[in-house]
Symmetry: C2
């Protein structure tokens, strides 16, 4: 059933929201790297082509993290070689270090993203660095990328809570983020990696940065808070939102659902609010239904489940 046939009410805007939002679609990277099934490169290429056809204009395509850590994305070079780049669509890739950058540059990418930690413990566990020494790793990556004309996004993880450290001081998150911006990142993506944030925390953190136009938000739906946090961020002036088609990366049958905000659930809200995204919701739902078949399990997105009855 299509989105228009389910009794969708009229479009009604709300004060304080942007007229247009850019969705930074992370399904092919952040989604698939957290799925237990390794998807063939041909399926990933079809997935990206379908997402572009559905109107998504930023498709984070893959990661050059070492395959030992993320076997799901070991085919990054092959994927980029086979990619049919659509006009008007950018395909950023995640790059952890200089070796990753070398591979990304060889593959001819125009946009990369680096992945920083807001906490000492996660820096140690995820990057094998201290909070301070992670920047030594990023500096040459960003400098060389910029020199090559490649745009750099900086992810900041654990912005709202850390499973080992608990609450994360806002000043610490802002310091990490401003350092990445100062290094030359064009955008920060502030991540609630464990999904614990609530709207007051979102507003307070965003207010700590000097320029909200360079901020994106990246919410996980572990505690069901992702969409209301997104709404709060939009009211603060954020216009780029990360989400994952079909909620890829969170298994609906697992005891805990730790996936990204589902792009369809986000588009439903933005469509109803009259906020432009350029996305055709029915085409996107069809894509996620198809991808769920490839993965052999239903999508955790509530919109996908409701519209694919």
């Amino acid at each position: 059933m299509g989105a228009r046939e389910v009794g969708l009410p009229d479009v009604v805007g709300a004060a304080g929201l942007p007229s247009r939002v850019t969705i930074w679609e992370v399904g092919a990277r952040d989604g698939l790297q957290n799925e237990s099934v390794v998807v063939p490169v041909s399926v990933k290429l079809e997935f990206l082509a379908r997402l572009a056809s559905a109107g998504l204009s930023v498709l984070e395509a893959t990661s050059f993290v070492h395959p030992k850590w993320v076997p799901q994305l070991a085919d990054a070079a092959e994927l980029l070689a086979g990619l049919d780049r659509r006009a008007g669509v950018v395909y950023p890739v995640l790059v952890p270090n200089e070796r990753g950058l070398d591979r990304a540059l060889e593959a001819g990418v125009s946009h990369i993203a680096i992945f920083a930690s807001a906490t000492e413990t996660f820096a140690a566990r995820n990057l094998n660095r201290t909070l301070e020494s992670q920047f030594e790793m990023f500096e040459p990556v960003v400098a060389r990328a910029l020199a090559a004309g490649v745009s750099v996004r900086g992810y900041v993880s654990m912005c709202f809570g850390d499973p080992w450290e608990g609450a994360v001081p806002q000043s610490q998150v802002v310091a990490v983020g401003e350092r990445l911006l100062g290094m030359g990142c064009s955008q920060l993506s502030l991540g609630d990696t464990i999904g614990v944030a609530t709207p007051g925390q979102v507003e307070a953190l965003l207010a700590g940065f000097s320029d909200v136009s360079r901020l994106a938000v990246h919410f996980h739906d572990t505690y069901g808070q992702a969409l209301s946090n997104t709404l709060a961020a939009l009211r603060c002036g954020v216009t780029t939102v990360d989400s994952s088609a079909g909620g890829l990366g969170g298994c609906p049958y697992a005891e805990s659902a730790t996936g990204n905000l589902a792009t369809e659930d986000l588009v439903w809200m933005l469509d109803g609010l009259g906020v432009e995204t350029g996305v055709d919701l029915d085409a996107l739902v069809a894509t996620s239904v198809w991808m769920a078949e490839q993965l052999g399990r239903p999508s955790p997105s509530r919109v996908v489940r409701a519209l694919s009855k």
Copy 2:
């Protein structure tokens, strides 16, 4: 794992929110009437006792709808006879008509709720009435209840969209609601029965009523919108929110999740915002885990799933 041990960030309020919210817990009625399993009365009584112990102060207990229509709640009289009423807790029951009111009064209830439709088609299908003639059915119910010192809440269903009629004119919803208030209902619960609403629609509808202090909201999470709509309603001054412990009433394995907003997901947000509810989240999660065992399937609440790992 408890809510405090998962990296929950500090409590941070947000402008424009109430300091306290009353949760109108509908799990025992709206939740269980939509579950396929018929739960024994002893289990329902333990469920209500546990919900009261978790700090919920309004527990919609059951319904005097004819058992032919809702066999899950056929034990309403037996349940109320066995109920250990807790001080400070009210136990409203749903009453469809005068026969239902007779049974509710016999059972000694202090609070009832009636269930009206905002649309012609749902009035015909659910009440076998026209939009206009439903009031003839409600008038003697409300008058007799008030005469007996019983408080009456009016539910208005299909406030934001109707599966047969599509978009529902706001003026029509307001007219139905104001009519119920004029009849003597102390509170209206505005229901998004099919879960399609988005925040702009919520704000617009609430603005159509003369007194927001008499309004409650009742969102279903079919399209993942329930919590962000609730946030929008709170910003409009609403201080009573309907929700269902564990998201009862929506099966996580069904193709569509049509259940109520899960109380735990609501409490997580309100706790983070520093909005008082009186609810002990860990006790509530333990209750929903126990109830999920009775039903033989996991809870659709994301908080319950994450905290019961």
